[in-house]
């Protein structure tokens, strides 16, 4: 039976403090509350390998990794773990949790490495955030770098675009509490960005402490799927369907590029899978990428008597064996 807030008299009188969502750090790491520090370490490593954003292909890897990292941060340090354990085991994940006033009720001083507090939940901040020395923050520290994934359409990657970003940044309050603040910034995506490429925005990461400079913000480009083109680096691939007679006799066709259509001469005697290169028609750069047009011959349906008759005549005329090499 989950405890409700009314069961917890020590929370009374803290009505002004906003509630945060309780996190079950043991559940996140998949270990019992009695786990040894070795077990915690092993569980963390296993999950970190599984969900590390640089390794994992899981769709929610980034969020999961953050959670795992936060749980490890809270449980690997005996003092922090003791403070967390002192909340009791009657809480359930996601439950409304009202932090004790001042957020420092359980402990005196926790030591964080550079920027370690960045990216942790409000629950973590409410529990451990008071540890920064309540405005007495003495040592100067550069803010943490942040990495944000942005989805960019191929059109925007080609032409460049202006993007408005909403970012959550942890900020140290004068009283030592860490709160996350939302800010908006506008930046230009330059033309020619490719899948996975990063854009560095100097000084737009997490703010520094004690007069230290802010970290940097890195935008990581994720190209949105495109109905026509497939990118590979700066090159683009386009599948171009052809009628058999266009491939056999040759044709000049209008084909799409990201800059508009261009005329492309299909050489007579082309087969499916043939690649024609449109030099410099890929994503811009020095040098720009190319567009590869991949020919795909489609057989027209034989759905009328006239069409079937045409196929029968073809069979007579060609004496063609497509399987002679089999």
């Amino acid at each position: 039976m989950a405890a409700t807030r009314a069961d917890r008299p020590e929370q009374a009188g803290a009505a002004d403090t906003p509630t945060v969502e309780y996190k079950d750090y043991y559940q996140i790491l998949g270990v019992p509350r009695t786990a040894s520090s070795d077990e915690i370490k092993r569980a963390y490593r296993r999950l970190a390998r599984k969900y590390h954003p640089d390794v994992s292909k899981e769709p929610d890897a980034e969020a999961r990794f953050k959670e795992v990292n936060e749980a490890n941060e809270a449980l690997k340090d005996p003092e922090k773990r003791a403070a967390y354990d002192a909340l009791g085991d009657q809480w359930r994940a996601g439950q409304e949790f009202r932090p004790p006033p001042g957020g420092r009720a359980y402990h005196r001083e926790f030591h964080f490495g550079p920027g370690e507090e960045a990216g942790f939940s409000d629950f973590f901040a409410s529990l451990f955030g008071g540890a920064f020395g309540g405005g007495r923050q003495a040592f100067r520290r550069r803010g943490q770098d942040q990495t944000v994934r942005i989805e960019v359409t191929l059109e925007d990657a080609f032409h460049g675009a202006t993007r408005e970003l909403r970012l959550q940044t942890p900020e140290l309050q004068p009283d030592g509490q860490v709160v996350s603040r939302v800010r908006t910034l506008k930046t230009r995506i330059p033309p020619g960005v490719t899948q996975g490429q990063q854009i560095r925005l100097a000084g737009q990461g997490a703010p520094g402490a004690g007069g230290g400079e802010a970290g940097d913000l890195y935008l990581e480009v994720d190209l949105a799927p495109h109905p026509r083109f497939r990118p590979e680096g700066k090159d683009l691939y386009l599948r171009l369907p052809l009628a058999p007679w266009e491939a056999a006799l040759g044709a000049t066709l209008e084909v799409p590029t990201l800059a508009g259509t261009v005329s492309l001469k299909i050489p007579a005697g082309s087969q499916s899978g043939r690649k024609l290169r449109l030099k410099g028609r890929g994503l811009p750069g020095k040098p720009p990428g190319d567009e590869y047009v991949v020919l795909e011959i489609l057989a027209p349906p034989a759905d009328t008597e006239a069409a079937r008759e045409a196929y029968r005549r073809m069979a007579e005329v060609f004496a063609f064996d497509p399987r002679e090499d089999l």
């Binding site: 390794v55 939302v182 930046t187 960005v193 990063q198 890195y218 691939y237 020095k286």
Partner: protein
Amino acid sequence: MKPTIRGVQGVVLDEGLEVTLKEMTRLCGISDRLVRLMVSEGLLHPRGRRPEDWCFSGLELRRARRALRLQRDLDLDLAGAALALELIEEIEALRARIRALEYQLGGRD
């Protein structure tokens, strides 16, 4: 609602970007020594012979930051991080190749 910060200029970390050893240490938040170690480990391949002439591309900067993240988060040594990174990059390249080839073969993706 806070005002929007406008006109923030970004720099694309691509092969065109040139990063010196000093900038590398600042941007990665690491020591000179560690950058040299990453070079001797074969993780980074700067142009230039002597460290003071070293010039890294934007892609190398990204590699360095990734390797450091892997090292820190997965508790690896530098050689382990280098190996992980090489494999990750190879997988990424192969995935991109597969996507392009599947498309060329007419597969629905």
